[in-house]
Symmetry: C2
Subunit: 315 residues, 2 copies
């Protein structure tokens, strides 16, 4: 392998939990993502070479603390890969925004490395290493962003060991609104505010919502999806971390969103909408609601792509 | 209406919870059920006229304590029905067996009364009254037997007020084994042994199982259904109420059952199987396992009918 040989993967942002499936459901989103480039190096190690993007300085460059670096270390170790790898990360996903940025860097790194090293592992074999990478940022091997980023689409994780990922059909015409206010929520902090248990009533109600949601997606029944798209597990505890959340959610619903909740741990808030026109109106309403709480925002109207992280350049 | 006018409904037995959906999922079963006959009477009241079947003496005959009687009282009250109704119940479903017997009598009564009175209410309007009936036996308005008995098929209840019932497709070739050991489990007792809350990990794992189960049913993917058909919510606490349960479950799995758990609160144990031949082998293995614990059993191999309770005789 020549020293100039590089491979770049694009790894999409993702919505963790998607309201209805705390810790087990996630959705990739189109058009927003990290670009991760790997390069063969002589030293038999993993090196984080370059991190670019607006918040690059906030990302740890030590390989064991960097989600891309740690994912590559895990990959090399398990598969006895002698080849050293340098990784460069072009952050397209805002940090600690609830958009799966740490997961995307980890997933992008292993997907790019798979191509660089010409080892055909496939998503099931890459998953544990991406989870190892994600764990250095979030403190645990959470699948809700890693899985949709790696597999694409709307993905339900029944098990990570062994991987058992269920792809759920995305309803036709679905548009996703993402509105990110200023401010950050650290995943660890957002986890710390959750209680260790849930009431039997909340657990069974949430189970019913997730089951109904999956049925609605298979039937392409957006009315059913809308009745199911709610969160009794995490949102009640985390909403307070995002100033104005209740008003933003109410505004989205008043404009006809199917559902609206925190993207992952927040502060980004997402809404699911039937069609692009509705989505634009919902985006405006959500943005205005944040503004009334003095929050500047960045926002997107996007879709859920069927494809996850993929190699975009090799040479 | 002539005093001789009667209507009889057949109301099927049902499997509450179906392992994966505690309190929110249920399945009707074919060939086993109660027959409930209603008759117009002069007195403006509800009267329980006759209860037949092996355990008839154990069923309260006071209308307010009888699930059929209470359901009819609720129906008359809400819809200002002056006509008095006498109800007779032919119990085909064993009592306190976990087969939805109390729910079937309540559902059969309201379905028969709807026809007798020529009021076209439909399942959504009948549901609250059947739940009122069920509540006098189980202490609460649980939908997990009432809903599949009324709607038929495999039914997920997202909400009872207003009714939001999601019909889940039954995989092709599915056979259901039911094995009922001697002994009874009272629903109230089985509820009392459940903790008021579940750990976050169990709640999210069970959510993933239910979501995966629904996806497996829509895809007709019995392997996925088999990986999902498990219960971390109720079974761990209730298994001890059924002597030999662990061995029966292990025997079913060894014979290739997709899943095996308590039917409702038990003691009946159900298994889902791919095809009739497998189901017969599983039934034998489960029966033998109960026998090795000194338990005599009654057993069935059946299917999940798409139709729920229905009028079978009117005249």
């Amino acid at each position: 392998m020549s020293r100039d040989h590089t491979t770049t993967a694009f790894a999409p942002a993702s919505i963790g939990n998607v309201a209805v499936g705390f810790d087990v459901l996630g959705a990739a989103v189109d058009g927003l993502g990290d670009r991760v480039t790997v390069r063969a190096i002589d030293a038999p190690t993993v090196r984080v070479e370059r991190i670019t993007g607006p918040q690059a300085d906030d990302i740890p460059a030590a390989p064991a603390q960097n989600t891309a670096g740690a994912a590559l270390q895990s990959l090399r170790e398990e598969h006895d890969i002698a080849q050293g790898i340098a990784v460069s990360i072009e952050k397209g996903i805002p940090l600690t925004a609830g958009l799966g940025g740490t997961a995307a860097s980890a997933v992008g790194a292993v997907v790019a490395a798979e191509a660089l090293l010409s080892v055909s592992l496939g998503p099931e074999a890459l998953l544990p290493h991406a989870l190892d990478g994600e764990a250095v940022a979030s403190g645990d091997r959470h699948p809700d962003n890693v899985v949709p980023c790696l597999y694409g689409g709307l993905a339900l994780t029944q098990s990570v060991e062994p991987p058992d990922v269920v792809s759920v059909p995305v309803p036709a015409g679905l548009r996703v609104v993402l509105v990110r206010p200023d401010g950050t929520v650290a995943t660890r902090e957002a986890r710390a505010c959750l209680p260790p248990s849930v009431s039997m009533g909340d657990a069974t109600a949430q189970m019913a919502h997730l089951g109904a949601f999956v049925a609605g997606c298979f039937r392409d029944d957006l009315a059913l999806v809308g009745r199911a798209l709610r969160d009794r597990i995490a949102e009640p505890h985390r909403a307070a971390l995002v100033p104005g959340f209740a008003d933003v959610q109410a505004a989205a619903r008043e404009e006809g969103a199917l559902g609206c909740s925190l993207s992952g741990a927040g502060p980004t808030v997402f809404a699911w909408c039937d069609g692009a026109a509705r989505a634009e109106a919902v985006r405006e309403a959500m943005t205005a609601a944040f503004a009334s709480h003095g929050q500047q925002t960045e926002s997107w109207v996007t879709t859920i792509p069927s494809q996850g992280a993929r190699v975009v350049e090799a040479g």
